[in-house]
């Protein structure tokens, strides 16, 4: 069965043919982060794909992944395009390097997992929290529930680890 739900008032859909995305978000709905691990070369990949981007093998299994990392880059949206986000500006879109598999299979590759900056309970972060985060900030994954079978993986500041003295922020505040 496919999924139709809403998140922030925004309609979300997953077709029942879309088995990779259904599996990914089903794990998220249980607040577990799973990625496909290639049955042939053993590499993890993100986002979900039908075959392995490194060896073309169509065989993979979903495995739990430790979802912690550091912000690799970001944008801070002040003028939202989608109506669902207009009440939440400024919001952050983070591109996060997972610690898992960083620098593999080649130096500049990483599992770069996208998410908004949220509070620990998965709500879009308030402005004072947004201003604390930049390139280098250590984050951990949390989830925003979006109905049965679907939750959105998100990032929140990892308070339990050492943070950089001053994460890189765009110079104009």
């Amino acid at each position: 069965m496919g999924i139709q739900t809403t998140y922030l008032g925004m309609p979300l859909q997953l077709d029942d043919l879309d088995v990779e995305n259904l599996a990914f978000f089903k794990h998220c709905s249980a607040h577990n982060f799973h990625l496909q691990k290639c049955a042939k070369c053993g590499l993890l990949r993100y986002p979900p794909t039908t075959a392995c981007p490194w060896c073309m093998s169509p065989k993979s299994e979903w495995v739990p992944v430790d979802a912690k990392g550091a912000v690799h880059s970001y944008t801070e949206v002040h003028h939202a395009i989608q109506p669902a986000f207009k009440a939440h500006t400024p919001y952050l879109i983070l591109v996060v390097d997972l610690d898992t598999q960083k620098g593999k299979p080649t130096e500049h590759e990483a599992l770069r997992v996208v998410g908004n900056l949220t509070t620990p309970d998965g709500k879009l972060a308030p402005p004072d929290m947004v201003r604390k985060v930049g390139i280098g900030t250590r984050v951990r994954m949390v989830f925003s529930d979006a109905g049965p079978g679907l939750a959105i993986p998100q990032w929140t500041i990892d308070e339990g680890t050492k943070q950089p003295d001053k994460p890189w922020r765009y110079p104009q505040e």
Binding site: L14, P47, P53, H72, H79, F85, I93, R112
Partner: protein
């Protein structure tokens, strides 16, 4: 034109100088065209064929690009009485122009047709807005889009910004450096009577405009306009009979990509764009290098897209793009002006076609500025680049267009005056 001595320009591997752009045409750049994309496209194609000095019966190929926001070749050909031996309408925005010119060359080389017109017709402000606002912004989020749009990560600006933020982090590039791109393009546009925005802006004005999404201020972003644009490509031999000096095509690279086109950020450095790969096709195919280029048309969807491409195509060292775009090189009167029409930031948004059209006019030494027309019917260029003045580049012989779809995909083309 200087040619590297070791280059074998007669090699059959290449089609250097065998094809040319002979006609260019456009509608006015407006917000609220008041007509359909079919009508816009028909005008632009007709203008391009007339500009070439060709008849309807001379054109037997048609290509176009769109994103579900435009008319099709069949309607334009019908309106103008063209009988086609080949047509195709492809899905795509930026980077399509140069890629389709490459395809047109292939079609003609294969003997499938003899002269190809390529068009892009769009009501990019009054119908389907390029920034993604309007009906598209509220559409349901489904399938693979969940990994992007569910995060409010949808518009081109939002999607591309992490690339440049990382560039600032990696290389110390500064906001005022890329803001100079807008300032320079606005100077160029002030000498282009058909530009939608002719007002000159300063770097400070760009930096004082409101933030859309960091690092983009409002004035770092291109304009949304309604317009159609078209070019006619044919063989260099046929081009001799056309109305204007030929813009000979030396080399093309089409939709060259970084790995992981599904989400290019998986492969770093993310501050490197497709030009890093495309340059290794463009320069050998063209038999020239960056130093041989007199003018560039580096796609300015945003100020930083111009910078990232110039850097990765080798116009400066990696990481020095901020200096390149702000040191005067790409201003009219500088060593290598960029987007002399004002480009997407000022002239109008066409998904790349107007930057090719401008370079064709520059190579003809016939930029349509406000210079007086002499007794021979040609503009008497003053090379005085003050506001409202000339925008013809002196002794312009070789051009490069650098088209951008997104950080992970780009196209490019080198032309020379023939």
């Amino acid at each position: 034109m200087p040619m590297p001595a070791e280059t074998d320009t007669t090699s059959p591997k290449y089609l250097r100088d065998k094809y040319a752009i002979v006609g260019v045409g456009e509608t006015t750049y407006t917000r609220g065209s008041g007509i359909t994309t079919r009508a816009l496209g028909t005008w632009a194609v007709r203008n391009a064929i007339e500009d070439a000095g060709l008849k309807a019966s001379d054109i037997d190929g048609m290509l176009s690009y769109q994103s579900g926001d435009s008319t099709f070749s069949t309607f334009i050909a019908g309106d103008l009485g063209l009988r086609l031996n080949f047509y195709m309408d492809v899905f795509g925005g930026g980077s399509s122009t140069e890629a389709l010119i490459g395809m047109a060359i292939g079609l003609m080389e294969a003997g499938m047709c003899k002269a190809v017109v390529i068009f892009r017709a769009m009501n990019g402000f009054s119908q389907v807005r390029i920034g993604g606002t309007g009906a598209r912004a509220a559409a349901p989020v489904s399938g693979d889009a969940l990994h992007m749009r569910a995060y409010g990560w949808q518009s081109a600006g939002q999607m591309f910004s992490p690339t440049f933020m990382r560039h600032m982090y990696d290389y110390g590039t500064r906001p005022e450096q890329v803001a100079t791109v807008k300032a320079i393009h606005s100077e160029h546009a002030s000498n282009n009577p058909k530009a939608f925005y002719k007002k000159r802006f300063t770097v400070d004005e760009v930096l004082a405009s409101r933030i859309i999404c960091k690092p983009l201020h409002l004035l770092d972003c291109c304009v949304e306009t309604d317009n159609a644009t078209a070019v006619v490509v044919t063989s260099a031999d046929r081009a001799k009979d056309c109305r204007h000096p030929r813009a000979l095509i030396r080399g093309v690279v089409g939709r060259c990509s970084k790995p992981r086109t599904d989400m290019h950020y998986q492969t770093g450095p993310i501050s490197t764009v497709a030009g890093h790969y495309a340059k290794d096709i463009l320069w050998p195919n063209s038999g020239v290098g960056p130093e041989d280029i007199d003018i560039t048309g580096s796609y300015d969807a945003f100020t930083f897209t111009t910078m990232l491409q110039l850097e990765d195509y080798g116009f400066c060292k990696k990481g020095e793009g901020g200096d390149y775009v702000s040191n005067g090189t790409m201003r009219l009167g500088g060593r290598r002006p960029n987007n002399t029409s004002g480009g997407h930031l000022c002239e109008g948004y066409t998904h790349g076609m107007n930057m090719v059209i401008e370079n064709v006019r520059q190579l003809r030494h016939d930029a349509d500025d406000s210079c007086p027309i002499g007794p021979d019917g040609k503009r008497q260029h003053t090379y005085d680049y003050r506001e409202g003045g000339c925008r013809q580049v002196k002794n312009c012989e070789v051009s490069a267009n650098l088209g951008w779809a997104n950080p992970g995909t780009g196209s490019a083309m080198v032309m020379r005056r023939g």
